[in-house]
């Protein structure tokens, strides 16, 4: 092995310069990145990182939190927001018994049909139904909310930078605007929202609902639970994913290790051979 010390001096100089240029370039790039983000006109607060129960490699969803989160969604958010990714059947064995899920679905009504007479009719929900939408269409939703349609919450967790951190920060982040910040009529100041003011009135406050499991429904508790539920809505296969991941990754690691060993075993003769040029001895 050649070390830095026994390189020729010109090579040492060249390597040194290369290193210097590399470090300088990286520093320059970093400072440019910093300098510009400070000048960004469209500034808003980035959601801090919270420690979610389902965060680690081996962590599953917190089903109790999802159950409470569903209650918050149903009692508060569902008045304005749909959630197109969740069907009642997905709640059973996650945060409800099959009977509870069935009863829950029955409480909603769905427009179905046409029947044999060609008429549309209302029927109670089935577990295969997806959660009902509060408005028949985008226009109705916008009209009822001062011109801004509430987005569907089915994938909202993944659709915003920060994921569930953002949801929590947004829901708990409402406050008075700082002096000098103009908030338009019908908008509410929230530093986490891009632009600083949004059309959603603060949906959560302490005791906004009563949890069926008796947990005190503080604002932050509700925000955390609904964030857990919305994360579930965006990725219902989360637990299955992590379980399968563990199996596949360890299997592939074992196969790789075995192949690496066998590979070396097969190649070793070839790699360690020595090819020599031996000039023929002149026979005098």
């Amino acid at each position: 092995m050649s070390t830095f010390r026994n390189l020729s001096s010109s090579r040492r100089l060249a390597l040194g310069l290369l290193g210097l240029a590399g470090a300088g370039g990286a520093g320059l790039a970093l400072s440019l990145e910093r300098a510009v983000s400070a000048a960004d006109a469209d500034r808003f607060a980035h959601a801090p990182h919270f420690h979610w129960p389902h965060e680690g490699f081996l962590d599953s969803y917190d089903v109790k939190s999802i159950r409470r989160g569903y209650e918050v969604y149903k009692n508060v958010c569902a008045a304005c927001h749909g959630c197109f990714t969740v069907a009642y059947r997905m709640l059973r064995n996650v945060c409800m018994t099959p009977e509870e899920a069935k009863a829950e679905a029955k409480r909603a009504t769905y427009l179905d049909g046409p029947n044999d007479e060609g008429e549309m009719y209302n029927r109670p929900g089935k577990t295969a139904d997806y959660l009902p939408k509060p408005y028949p269409n985008e226009q109705a939703a916008a009209y009822a909310n001062g011109g801004k349609a509430p987005p569907d919450l089915g994938l909202i967790t993944f659709a915003r930078h920060g994921y569930e951190n953002y949801i929590f920060a947004l829901l708990t982040g409402y406050q008075d605007p700082p002096a000098g910040f103009q908030v338009d009529e019908g908008l509410y100041f929230n530093p986490y929202f891009r632009g600083g003011a949004l059309a959603m009135p603060p949906p959560l406050y302490n005791e906004v609902l009563e949890y069926s499991d008796g947990t005190p429904a503080t604002k932050s508790q509700c925000a955390k639970d609904v964030a857990c539920f919305l994360r579930f809505a965006a990725e219902p296969w989360h637990d299955e994913r992590k379980k399968l991941a563990l199996k596949l990754v360890s299997l592939l690691a074992l196969i790789s290790a075995a192949l690496a060993y066998y590979n070396r075993h097969v190649w070793t003769v070839l790699i360690n051979r020595k090819v020599m040029y031996v000039p023929k001895k002149k026979s005098s």
Binding site: L32, F84, T85, A159, P236, R241, L248, L259, N263
Partner: protein, 377 residues
């Protein structure tokens, strides 16, 4: 006897001569693993794609909701989609290593193999772009708009060409239908070209890091390279599964989770990481037509590489200046990738322009420097 059988049967003979008895240079490094990895990528994409296609409905309003519901409804639908989406990234990672290997070690001197390879690269880029549009989310809709609009820069016929591609006055239903049709078709064309690529390669045999003739010293493909390639596949699959299963969304964009909305432009439009360098080149030319030409050239220039073999020896192994230039080129591509993800404002614009010039300079300087080196030594 079984050995006799697979050597004489016309079908198995082919596999015998490409996968078992093929003479291969023993000194080829891990950079030669990417060929087999790429075949693997293509197979994975085609199979996972077939599953996805069977649960897909094309349409401006339909696709988005359908795609996400299918992830949950069909058994392991989410896994198939994560594999297909991240598989594209693995595909391009391998492609870039493979092409980089070709540039460094002078593989472009196998002119026909090389040209078929560049064609495969171009078709893969087209397939990836069209596939990205299919879920009709915000980023894919706006990406489709930006890229298809580039065709309007073709002199005289441009605007007509764009409408012809759209099948309407903007990106709408028919655009999605045809993108789906072509996204389904192109991979099979790629597959056919891969067969041609490999056949042509085996007419000359693999190159090797030293760039010298290796007829005097070869080993049979099996079990040396079947094992080495197998190990490569196992390691790559391990890394791939790790990403697919633990960070499936890390290479994507938040805008992928909002339904396409033609009246709301995303705050920041950018392609997937593997197109960022080309996107940066496109944006660094102030003139739109010029940008499109530069974008096309950034890949098409690979077709010119066979003409740059001015040096006496193959590859960069014996040309220190070429080696330096090559790594400089790698830095350029990485820098352009970074610029492609930055907003169009100072100082990114100028930085991108400088790296664009350097990017193209590489193709000019390498043959010249190598020829000079020959002349001087």
């Amino acid at each position: 006897m079984s050995t006799q059988f697979y050597k004489s049967n016309p079908l198995f003979k082919v596999f015998n001569s490409t996968l078992i008895e093929l003479p291969a240079p023993p000194n080829i490094s891990a950079f030669w693993n990417f060929g087999s990895l790429l075949s693997g990528c293509l197979i994975v994409q085609i199979i996972s794609g077939l599953f996805l296609a069977s649960a897909y409905s094309a349409g401006m309003e339909l696709s988005f909701e359908q795609v996400f519901k299918a992830m949950e409804v069909s058994d392991k639908g989410w896994l198939i989609r994560y594999i297909h989406a991240n598989g594209a990234s693995l595909f391009f990672l391998c492609l870039y290593f493979h092409v980089g290997r070709g540039i460094y070690y002078g593989s472009y001197l196998y002119v026909h193999t090389w040209n078929v390879g560049v064609t495969i690269l171009l078709l893969t880029m087209a397939a990836a772009f069209m596939g990205y549009v299919l879920p009709v989310n915000q980023m894919s809709f706006w990406g489709a708009s930006v890229i298809t609009n580039l065709f309007s820069e073709i002199p005289y016929v441009g605007p007509n060409v764009v409408q012809y591609i759209w099948g309407g006055v903007t990106v709408e239903g028919p655009t999605i239908y045809r993108f789906f049709a072509f996204h389904f078709l192109v991979p099979f064309i790629i597959l056919a070209l891969v067969v041609v690529h490999i056949t042509m390669l085996h007419m000359t045999g693999s190159g090797n890091p030293l760039g010298i003739h290796s007829e005097v010293d070869k080993v049979s493909f099996h079990s040396y390279f079947s094992l080495k390639d197998g190990l490569g596949v196992a390691l790559a699959s391990g890394g791939f599964v790790l990403v697919c299963m633990y960070w499936p969304l890390v290479l994507g964009d938040d805008e992928n989770f909002s339904l396409a909305n033609p009246s709301v432009t995303p705050h920041h439009i950018q392609p997937e990481w593997y197109f960022l360098f080309a996107y940066a080149i496109l944006r660094s030319i102030p003139n739109k037509l010029g940008g499109v030409v530069a974008l096309l050239l950034s890949v098409l220039i690979l077709y010119l590489m066979p003409f740059t073999g001015l040096a006496k020896k193959k590859g960069s192994m014996f040309y220190p200046v070429s080696k330096g230039l090559f790594w400089g080129f790698v830095v350029c591509v990485l820098a352009l990738t970074w610029i492609g993800a930055c907003p169009v404002e100072p100082p990114y614009v100028l930085t991108g322009q400088i790296f664009t010039v350097l990017y193209f300079m590489f193709y000019l300087l390498t043959p010249i420097s190598a020829a000079l080196w020959d002349a001087l030594s």
